[in-house]
Symmetry: none
Subunit: 229 residues, 4 copies
Amino acid sequence: MYSMPRLKLRSNSGSYSKGQTRATEILEAALDILLDHGYQSLSMRRIAAACGITLGNVTYYYPTKDQLVRDLLESVVQSYMDTFDAIRNDPTMAPEDQFVTVIRLLLEDIQTKKTTHLFPQLWTLSNHDSFISERVDELYVNARQIFNDLIPILNPALTDHEREVVALFVSASIEGMTMFAGYEKPWAPDMPLIEGIAAKSLLECVKTITADDIYRFAPDRKGPVLRNS
Amino acid sequence: MYSMPRLKLRSNSGSYSKGQTRATEILEAALDILLDHGYQSLSMRRIAAACGITLGNVTYYYPTKDQLVRDLLESVVQSYMDTFDAIRNDPTMAPEDQFVTVIRLLLEDIQTKKTTHLFPQLWTLSNHDSFISERVDELYVNARQIFNDLIPILNPALTDHEREVVALFVSASIEGMTMFAGYEKPWAPDMPLIEGIAAKSLLECVKTITADDIYRFAPDRKGPVLRNS
Amino acid sequence: MYSMPRLKLRSNSGSYSKGQTRATEILEAALDILLDHGYQSLSMRRIAAACGITLGNVTYYYPTKDQLVRDLLESVVQSYMDTFDAIRNDPTMAPEDQFVTVIRLLLEDIQTKKTTHLFPQLWTLSNHDSFISERVDELYVNARQIFNDLIPILNPALTDHEREVVALFVSASIEGMTMFAGYEKPWAPDMPLIEGIAAKSLLECVKTITADDIYRFAPDRKGPVLRNS
Amino acid sequence: MYSMPRLKLRSNSGSYSKGQTRATEILEAALDILLDHGYQSLSMRRIAAACGITLGNVTYYYPTKDQLVRDLLESVVQSYMDTFDAIRNDPTMAPEDQFVTVIRLLLEDIQTKKTTHLFPQLWTLSNHDSFISERVDELYVNARQIFNDLIPILNPALTDHEREVVALFVSASIEGMTMFAGYEKPWAPDMPLIEGIAAKSLLECVKTITADDIYRFAPDRKGPVLRNS
DNA sequence: AATGAATGAGCGTTCATTCAT
DNA sequence: TATGAATGAACGCTCATTCAT
């Protein structure tokens, strides 16, 4: 299956020096703390302790916490993007099947502790940190790419912009499950049903939606909320 | 329209109204900081400064930060729940119209700074704080109530459990827009289209989905991903 | 027997106004906290809470903590002095019996929680607070009075000064048991034996000691430690 | 003479000697503050100021105040125990002389500022802190050892338990002088006489006391206070 | 006689950062 | 590479005190 590697480092050539290893260890430890105890608990000291090294040594690799967090973020974003690329480049299925499969993969991914705990954190940080905001946006552009590839096949009538918004809707619908059916969340046991509903509903949506639908249901500040009902 | 009051305080029937006012001021200031600078920046000192009072005086009203945060959370949750109740008890529309209207209201609400900045924070805190987790769960139970009321009318064939999961799917789809089309988010300008897509797609979903659909598309660990395709 | 009242207030005439009562309540609560949790835990707020009144009201009676502590100290010292006076004025026994009885009374008193917990506190505070130091000195002058009364009868040969130092030795020997055989202390179960040893040893001491003994055993910086041994 | 070193540190075999020195400096400063201003004044900030370093640097060596206090206590207890061991292992004198000498040494020790100010503090803290209570108990077990060694020689008829209680009585009698004849205490000038009285009285006690005495003078709850008088 | 409100200082603790070795 | 030492700022919290009502 499409396993999500924890971290994908921009490896500086193939040389795995001791420093590279250490740097990775530090990021891994940081990620563990982030997932297990939250961003609030992510301190340089705690990372050092988790690595079994001294605080001074952490600062040798990451002079500031900001640097460390950015590197961590880039690594983790890259690991997700690699996965999305792998899914996208899998040529084996018919478009409908591929669409449904991707929805399932994503819904299953949000049930991992990593995704359930990481993404809300990223959304939160995005609100006050433009660097993170940009990385997260990048990530989602990449994540939606597969939908942007498939939708024109499933529904050729949509304009580029309509198609992009539909892709956003599909992606956001899935992401919205994170807080409810993610790792150890109350609705996690119902994920099979959720997958069924999401697959049917979103596939139907992308296949049948028309510009007319979109604009009929879209609000018009001058007219009534539902024009034709 | 259904305005969302910032905070809904449990009225202390204060004989001394000054204290009541101060307590509210403090929570308002805390909320402002939370929205503008994030939970990380929410310190007792900063709240005091924002109120123009001393740190000691903040602790006079909220002896611990935990108490303050809990009171803030309960106030803010209550303010949302009051709004949901108001929407639910509005008897003026046909079920389909009501369904579509609620979806629009919610999508418009996520475009407020308050909702865009607050909810990801709550989702994040929920992952490591059971008190917050429980309050947020309560809030969403309440938020889904209107869907749980409407769906049986729009689609009587669903069992209670299926209906609840469909309501979850609808609610989560909307929530998932927060990070993408919320306040000052990249897709905010496309919210009218998003509303159109969401309204059409989710209405279609709740009206037409069948148990057969749900289980046909639901994964079967033994069989192929798409049984009937 | 000779019960030790907890506090002896210098009651302002016989009028037990509400204020008098409140003031006493406050001191009683303060004493409870002091005995149960130590001087470190003795705060105005805690006293208020223990009394079920507000902090502001405590400061109405005792504008400063220092005042409160001083009043508490004077009350508690007075209560002990009253007891000593009662013992001293008891005319029923022969001098030897009276001496032995007093030793026992004092040894039994140090087994009360009040005395075990209060006196080390007083000794400690005495080291850095001259007001307390003076009150405690007063208390012990009073406590030794009975020995100063009895010793001349039991041993008329001693000079006044010698007698006073002997009385001090007797009193201090007893006080020294507080930390070892006081309330819930390891040697508390052996108090009967300790009483026997103290009674025998101290009675023998006061009856038989001579100036010659005192100065023979007293150190002489020029000569050997034990001159005549 | 038997000098009492201020602190006996557990040598950390520090490769970095600077840290070891700092750690000692901190404990020395803490002890100074404790002796000069009392436990109430012993704050991390004050210790830092006394050392001429920052608060953060104190916490570098002692992450919590509790740790610092415990280390200080263990050091100071060890320094006393070393002294007691030295006295005990001095083989030069006859038992009676040794007994008298030890009494004098202890009485002279209580006249030091360190002992006069430290021990009442320890007794006080013992009442509400089991860790301190245990260390202090240990210390006194060690302090009484020399009496437990000498008394069987001076008075072989006593049972083990009787001897231990007699040793306690002797030790406690001496400790009881601390508050009256210690450093800058009113009776300090009379210490020579006190030494004479204590030496004569306690030596006489341990040499002549019998089980019969102990139990004759010991209270009997059913009979009169003085059975045979 | 009592309350509620507010201040200002101090506390123990945590932390990111800097730097000499 | 890595450690140990140190700084300075912030944090949540407790407290004695003051004062208007």
